[in-house]
């Protein structure tokens, strides 16, 4: 009896047996056509680990669903020339397990391991993490620090944007209403690379980060050739700290004043008080883990 009641309730949500408002196309071409036709009236679904929570809690109504999870072309990780290409449907679990990503972008692998739980990592995708554009998205700081580029496509056009130009506000980005993210390109460095990743949260698993930091240093001989420093949950967008990066260039690690850099980090972020931590806490922790990052790379260089 109870069973049939529940079924009836479920049935009320069906608008028609053909499910006109749920699309699960098999090709990218169809995806772009549907996106072009429905624009902001359609919500994209990949791993569903965010959107299904919101939908089930009725946080917002969703008119049309565009489920892109069947597009095989968007699930690959491959080396193309001097870059690694990651399809937006690659899951956090696949990132963790990828030899290519482990080899070249270890901070990204480490960040993927810190996302949610095994149950979330097996479904949630890198493209979802990027397009949800939460300032706390765990993969975002590493992507900024490695200078990833995002490939965007609409029915008629394609463009490539730098990751640090993509995010415009909390859960906001430059994607147009007819575009989708079709790939993440990360350049492979020619130099000696050291990477650091840290996530601060109130628990070890299943936690939205209080703060994340990703730091990449590339050396030619003993001099810093490139620095990538980015943080999450410290500003309205995942933040790359270019000014601090620039000051490290052409110097030896031993010439850097760690405390001074930590102080600059503190002064260049704009965290807020929320459930996960206060502004002061975040500033202090940011400074602390900046020093840890520098010390860890120093140790690795000595022992490596």
């Amino acid at each position: 009896m109870r069973k049939s009641l529940i079924k009836q309730e479920n049935n009320q949500q069906i608008s028609g047996t053909d499910f006109k408002n749920y699309f699960q196309p098999g090709s990218l071409k169809e995806v772009l056509e549907i996106r072009d036709k429905y624009r902001d009236k359609v919500n994209l679904v990949a791993g569903a680990t965010d959107i299904f929570v919101q939908y089930n809690e009725r946080l917002h109504e969703i008119e049309n669903w565009l489920d892109i999870s069947r597009i095989e072309d968007l699930k690959k990780i491959e080396k193309r020339g001097k870059s690694i290409f990651i399809g937006p449907l690659v899951t956090h679990l696949e990132i963790m397990k990828s030899d290519l990503i482990n080899k070249y972008f270890s901070a990204l692998s480490a960040a993927a391991l810190d996302v949610g739980s095994p149950q979330i990592r097996s479904r949630g995708t890198i493209g979802g993490n990027i397009c949800t554009s939460s300032p706390a998205g765990d993969l975002l700081a590493p992507l900024l620090a490695y200078e990833a580029r995002f490939h965007l496509s609409s029915k008629k056009e394609r463009r490539i944007v730098e990751s640090d130009k993509f995010f415009t506000g909390p859960k906001k980005n430059i994607l147009k209403d007819n575009e989708i993210l079709t790939g993440i390109e990360i350049p492979i460095s020619d130099f000696e690379v050291y990477s650091y990743w840290e996530k601060i949260g109130r628990r070890k698993a299943l936690v939205i980060s209080t703060l994340t930091l990703s730091f990449v240093l590339e050396f030619e001989d003993d001099l810093i050739k490139r620095a990538g420093l980015a943080m999450g949950s410290v500003a309205p967008v995942p933040k790359r700290l270019n000014m601090i990066e620039e000051k490290m260039l052409k110097k030896k690690l031993s010439q850097l004043n760690y405390q001074k850099i930590a102080e600059e980090v503190k002064n260049n972020i704009s965290p807020i008080d929320d459930l996960r931590g206060t502004k002061e806490y975040r500033e202090d922790v940011a400074a602390e883990i900046m020093v840890n990052a520098l010390e860890k790379i120093e140790k690795e260089r000595v022992s490596g």
């Binding site: 499910f19 408002n21 569903a48 089930n56 149950q119 479904r123 698993a205």
Partner: protein
């Protein structure tokens, strides 16, 4: 909208809406109530099942994404008369109190031991990090997984048809 999927080795056809959760499909349509609903947000792990070899929170899987997949629920792992070594170990270690989290805990343990037959304690904690237990404090659950690892040493864990 009709989909077919393999559940515990059997091919099943189910009528769904696009927004049916895999969890509801299993519990309501197939009557497999061993899979539990805790938080409904992917945070507690009570609804854990194994889908195409990976651990998933069935409350976060839209049914259309489960079309064509292979699902293992707790009903597919051993029976009352013939417990899976993991289930046996949970009983022997006293790892079960209220029991609500246990189907998810057992499946997460199975997934862990399939990939890593001799996990260290830290690896067990990571493997079970998506499953919350509000009774036991986890110590006995971890003992149970270690016990199961010993029992299963050298033998296939596949009792899942």
């Amino acid at each position: 909208m009709k989909i077919s999927l393999t559940v515990n080795g059997q091919l099943r056809e189910v009528e769904i809406t696009p927004y049916t959760r895999l969890l509801d499909l299993l519990r309501e349509d197939l009557g497999l109530t061993g899979t539990k609903e805790g938080c409904g947000k992917g945070e507690c792990g009570a609804c854990t099942v194994i889908m195409d070899g990976e651990l998933v929170a069935s409350c976060l899987v839209p049914a259309p994404q489960a079309a064509g997949s292979e699902i293992l629920t707790i009903e597919g792992l051993g029976s009352k008369e013939n417990l899976h070594p993991i289930q046996e170990s949970f009983v022997e270690a006293g790892a079960v109190q209220c029991g609500f989290c246990i189907p998810g805990m057992v499946l997460a343990s199975k997934k862990l031991l399939d990939e890593n037959p001799h996990p260290a304690e830290k690896e067990i904690r990571i493997g079970l990090s998506g499953n919350i237990c509000r009774c036991t404090g986890y110590a006995k659950i971890i003992d149970a997984v270690m016990m199961a690892a010993e029992k299963m040493d050298g033998q296939e864990s596949d009792q899942d048809g």
